[in-house]
């Protein structure tokens, strides 16, 4: 496991950053290719509202 991670950092790193943009900005500053995805947990992470949203999600049409 650790060897795999070590190997990862020995090659060119390309990053997809989810959520906090500051991580993407720091990588950009260091010249690391990064794509930032603006994402936040549904309903700000409120579990009750997330459950309501899940219950009201679009169903796949048959």
């Amino acid at each position: 496991m650790m060897a795999g991670i070590a190997a990862l950092f020995c090659q060119e790193i390309r990053v997809i950053n989810l959520g906090l943009e500051v991580f993407a900005q720091e990588l950009q500053r260091l010249g690391v290719p990064v794509i930032h995805v603006a994402w936040s947990p549904p309903a700000g992470g409120d579990p009750r509202k997330a459950a309501l949203l899940a219950a009201l999600a679009d169903e796949e049409e048959e």
């Binding site: 309903a43 700000g44 309501l52 949203l53 899940a54 219950a55 009201l56 999600a57 169903e59 049409e61």
Partner: protein
């Protein structure tokens, strides 16, 4: 019905509406409401909870109708229930700012040819001391009487002589001319005046009366706003009552509460305390002078214009303090995140002809935390001061959270 199917049906009805201006009649004639009743903007409101601007307008309208000769008597009539209060939206109408409609006031009649329903709105009074901003003196009453006596009948005759005026076409064109139909109606007002001009000129009415009406229209860049609102009401109303749809069909404010209604939840309102708009103030005024957000005009955003069409109207973006062109585009793109689709008729050239975002989805608002952006005038909180600035207001998320709960409850556990 699945939510997806219901929402597609609601969105189709909204964007395929064909609002046309067909008449200008008194509210009694057009809407059939009689007796001592006054309609106001926003969700239902009692006298006690009304803001001072709304209260002043209600007193003034009571005097205008001749139900009272002074404010003390007018207040007694309202408090005793002899003069009743109602909501414009419940009677197929909308009103800007305080939104007062009484039986003798002339109202534009907008018919949705796609669904056969009608919507109504008063004639925009112009700037200065006006009822919609809570002004309450004899000059306000006299203008209202002139609108009843002369402007309404003249405009009604000209509109009838025109046959009808296609508002969807007119608004689509005005959008390309820099209007977003809420804070900017310069182009739409000009297009309407151009269409009505020949019919006004041909009226058998006294030429001086026609000239006064023409002058009144020409002096008001926002003349078309009320008609855009009625077009929005006529377009959204057929969506009310589509089971399982999570699409917003009404956003309205009464100066105390912000309220929304949702297609799948019928006439039920979901309300939260209304906010004070953020924006630019005219010289001598500041946020401490501002009335909380008020009026039915957010129906314009509900049909995909106003703040949702900010990218089409960079002049407005600056006026309401939203910055320049890039900020305007970002505002429209942000609203797209909470909408079900794009309007096939309201297209924005600078966005490569994409349609304006339309069909606010309660679920998307709660999921993203992005609340609808409303371009609006800022009213002074002191009655009668009038407009003191312009800005943007956000619909309170609490309205959408309540609606989400109600939608889930109605859907029931078997669908969960």
């Amino acid at each position: 019905m699945s939510i997806k199917t219901a929402n597609q049906a609601a969105l189709d009805r909204l964007v395929q509406a064909q609002p046309v201006l067909v008449d200008c009649l008194t509210a009694e004639q057009a809407m059939g409401f009689t007796g001592r009743t006054m309609l106001h903007a926003g969700p239902p409101l009692s006298w006690e909870r009304a803001c001072p601007t709304m209260q002043a307008a209600l007193l003034c309208a009571t005097r205008y109708e001749g139900w009272a000769t002074d404010d003390t008597t007018a207040l007694d009539l309202i408090r005793s229930g002899e003069v009743r209060l109602g909501t414009c939206h419940h009677l197929g109408a909308v009103g800007p700012m305080t939104g007062i409609i009484t039986p003798s006031m002339p109202v534009f009649v907008v018919e949705n040819r796609a669904a056969g329903n009608r919507a109504h709105v008063t004639i925009n009074e112009g700037l200065g001391k006006v009822l919609r901003f809570g002004a309450n003196d004899e000059s306000v009453v006299e203008r209202l009487r002139w609108l009843h006596r002369e402007a309404g009948p003249v405009l009604g005759a000209a509109i009838r002589a025109s046959g009808s005026i296609d508002l969807r076409v007119l608004m689509a064109q005005a959008l390309r001319m820099g209007d977003e139909m809420h804070q900017r109606n310069v182009a739409a007002s000009c297009l309407l005046a151009r269409t009505l001009m020949v019919h006004l000129a041909r009226l058998p009415a006294d030429s001086q009366a026609v000239a006064r009406v023409a002058d009144f229209m020409a002096a008001n860049d926002q003349f078309f706003l009320n008609i855009a609102m009625a077009a929005g009401k006529a377009s959204t109303e057929p969506c009310v009552g589509i089971p399982d749809s999570t699409m917003v069909v009404t956003m309205a404010r009464n100066g105390t509460d912000f309220g929304i209604r949702v297609a799948g939840l019928g006439d039920r309102w979901f309300t939260a305390p209304v906010e004070v708009p953020q924006g630019f103030y005219f010289p001598g005024f500041g946020p401490e002078d501002a009335n909380p957000d008020i009026g039915d005009s957010a129906i314009v955003e509900t049909m995909g214009l106003g703040g949702f069409a900010m990218a089409a109207s960079p002049a407005v973006a600056r006026f309401v303090g939203a910055g320049g062109m890039q900020e305007a585009i970002r505002a429209t793109e942000e609203m797209a995140e909470i909408c079900l689709g794009e309007h096939p008729h309201f297209r924005i050239p600078i966005l490569d002809e994409r349609g304006t975002p339309v069909g606010i989805d309660v679920r998307k608002v709660v999921e993203t935390g992005i609340t609808p952006l409303i371009n609006t005038g800022i009213a002074g909180k002191k009655p009668g001061v009038g407009q003191i600035g312009a800005g943007v207001a956000r619909a309170p998320i609490a309205c959408f959270e309540q609606a989400l709960e109600a939608l889930a409850a109605r859907r029931g556990p078997t669908h969960g």
